[in-house]
Amino acid sequence: MRVFFVILVCKLLHFIGKLIGKGSSLPGKYALKLDRNILKKIKMPEYIIAVTGSNGKTSTVEMIAHILQEGGKTVAYNKEGSNQIEGVTTFILCNSTMGGKVKSDILLIESDERFAQYTFKYFTPTHYVITNLYRDQLTRNGHPEWVYDCLKNSIHDGTQLILNADDPLVSCFGYGKDDVIYFGADKISVSHEKNNSVYNDGIFCPHCKKRLSYEYYHYNHIGKYSCPNCGLKRNNTQFSVTAADLDKGEIIINDKSTIKLALKSLYNVYNILAAYSVCSIVGIDDATICKSINNYVLKNGRVIEFSLDKRYGTLLTSKHENSVSYDQSLTLAANDKQGCDILIIVDAISRKYFTSDVSWLWDIDFELLASKNVGEIVLAGLYSADLQTRFSFTGIEESKIKAFSDIGEAAEYLKTSSDRKLYVITCFSDKGKFLSLVKEEKL
């Protein structure tokens, strides 16, 4: 099959798909049917950057693209978010000439953790960023070690790995490899000696399964660890957050570059650091990176400001079935010294597949909301009863908690319940149901 023809079919289908509002994986699916090896035949640019991991892929990719563009590079990336092989095929072919050459300087790919092994059979990234491995969508992903084994199959010679040194499981990808760059955070203001999460996936060494010891934690199992038994330890980092003041919203990278944070979470700090590292490696100068990322507001709609009648609020998009993502949002809200109310919505667990499993609610550190900054907690959606059961074990007084199975009723109640700031914590699958009831405010 001629490359020209396959690209033509893919572009046509993509065009039609856009007109009728269809997803972006179908054109790639047909292209792969026409020629299974089509991606092998495409002339790739000098740099192919891939980003994967449980959390922060989309945000990290968006920031990398932004920095590279500010640095004068042309970048093709899968901003439509379809990160399995079909979607990646669509976006690569649609960004190629009819002769089969990628049109941009850099190809930037957000890749699904479990499916990267299939995508990278056909071409190999030059730079491969792995952000973290958490308990994430276990209804599809099994568990982090299962995902680790899948991801390991996607790593080939000729790729430089750019790894989060602070995640013990992720750091194992670098084991016995030479071409590895590590990034991480030094001991900073938010580091703590004890892991206060509901569970700790850093208790046992991922390599030898004896107990790890931690000098400090940043959050969950992210921190400075070493294994007294086999010697696995946090690697030295080439790119480091050397200071951080989250109240002020400022971090310093490698003792010299100051970056102001639009979103004051440690989570965001790691995404910025990953983006900083890879952009620096492919030759963007420090000043350009800092300038483009300073106070950068993500466009992917994760944080949305809104008003509900006279009340003002922030929606923090979190991922259902991902306790680390929830913990980050809860931390942000619980630390708001102005005082706030909280609305948590669990209605459809996923928009992509069916499941009724709420086990993950038990992994979330809802105890964080026992903070004096938090006023009332409203639980809403189909699974509000399961949330209520979980909250009955947090030690938070029952009188502070209200539950509604109907999201509209919850919103109606919140209109007049108080005038405190409102934080809404929910997932992509459910946020639209709330946003349709409020007025979004531009930042």
Binding site: R135, L138, T139, R140, G142, H143, P144, E145, W146, V198, Y199, N200, I203, F204, K209, F354, T355, S356, D357, V358, S359, W360, L361, W362, D363, L382, Y383, A385, D386, Q388, T389, R390, S392, F393, A403
Partner: protein, 259 residues
């Protein structure tokens, strides 16, 4: 009455939210006026199973399961007597696999298990190839599955209501044993049997994963009645009951449209 509860490998066999089982169980017993002593233990801790009235172990990653298995083998004799004396235990997810003869992992390595029942576990990859070469007519048993994750409905005549939950496993078990539940919807011990789990006296093993006693108040009633010989006053929790009814309704809707 004092009930002593042992949570085995609480920090190792904790795929997700398994401590919820212990949380609702202890609350139930305490609300029924029973004093509870909870011990959470892990590898290398010393403990004697004979000291307890209830033993629980949750699911873990395949690697963690092998670490737990190596440790629990050193308690084999205690556990054997515990079973013979009709002690109550609950093994959820892949922890039940430890009760069988052996576990063959995806690399084809075989680990000797507790051998309290006559069954074998196959965990994908090379283990399936081994199974199929020994049982060439039984390819349907496992097909090319790598990992099975999915919602399920099970039932049993000794539990008042059907059970709802989730399975997240890569192991199939096969052998001669008494299963625990019948499969109504979803997958059980393997693709041929419409049964889930294993029962040895009052040792209950099920592939249901996570906080199954939170999701299934009727099963919590049953476990409590086993532990206390029916001497605990029945407790009922409104949000827990509503959570169950809602999940059962959603799963039945799914079952009726998909079959």
């Amino acid at each position: 009455m004092i009930i002593k509860v042992l949570h085995l490998y609480h920090d190792l066999m904790n795929l997700y939210g398994e401590y919820g089982n212990i949380a609702v169980l202890c609350r139930y017993l305490e609300d029924a006026g029973i004093e509870v002593q909870l011990d959470k233990v892990s590898v290398d801790d010393s403990f004697n199973i004979a000291d307890y009235n209830f033993v629980y172990c949750g699911a873990g990653t395949e690697r963690n399961q092998k670490v737990a298995l190596a440790d629990i083998i050193s308690h084999k004799d205690e556990l054997k007597i515990y079973i013979e004396n009709n002690g109550t235990a609950l093994f959820t997810g892949n922890s039940l696999e430890m009760l069988g003869k052996s576990i063959c992992d995806r690399n084809g390595d075989t680990f000797e298990a507790l051998s309290f029942a006559d069954f074998y576990t196959y965990q994908g990859g090379e283990s399936y190839k081994k199974y199929i070469s020994a049982n060439p007519n039984d390819t349907e048993l496992i097909k090319n599955d790598t990992r099975i994750t999915g919602d399920v409905i099970f039932k049993a005549d000794f539990i008042e209501k059907p059970l709802v939950g989730f399975v997240n496993k890569c192991g199939f078990i096969k052998g001669n044993f008494t299963p625990l539940f019948n499969v109504v919807y979803g997958i059980g011990n393997n693709r041929n049997d419409k049964s889930d789990g294993i029962r040895i006296n009052n040792i209950l093993g099920t592939y249901l994963t996570g906080p199954i006693l939170v999701k299934n108040p009727a099963m919590l009633d049953y476990v409590v009645s086993l532990i206390t010989n029916g001497n605990a006053k029945n407790q009922s929790y409104d949000s827990q009951n509503r959570g169950y009814e809602m999940t059962y309704r959603e799963l039945m809707k799914r079952f009726n449209t998909q079959g």
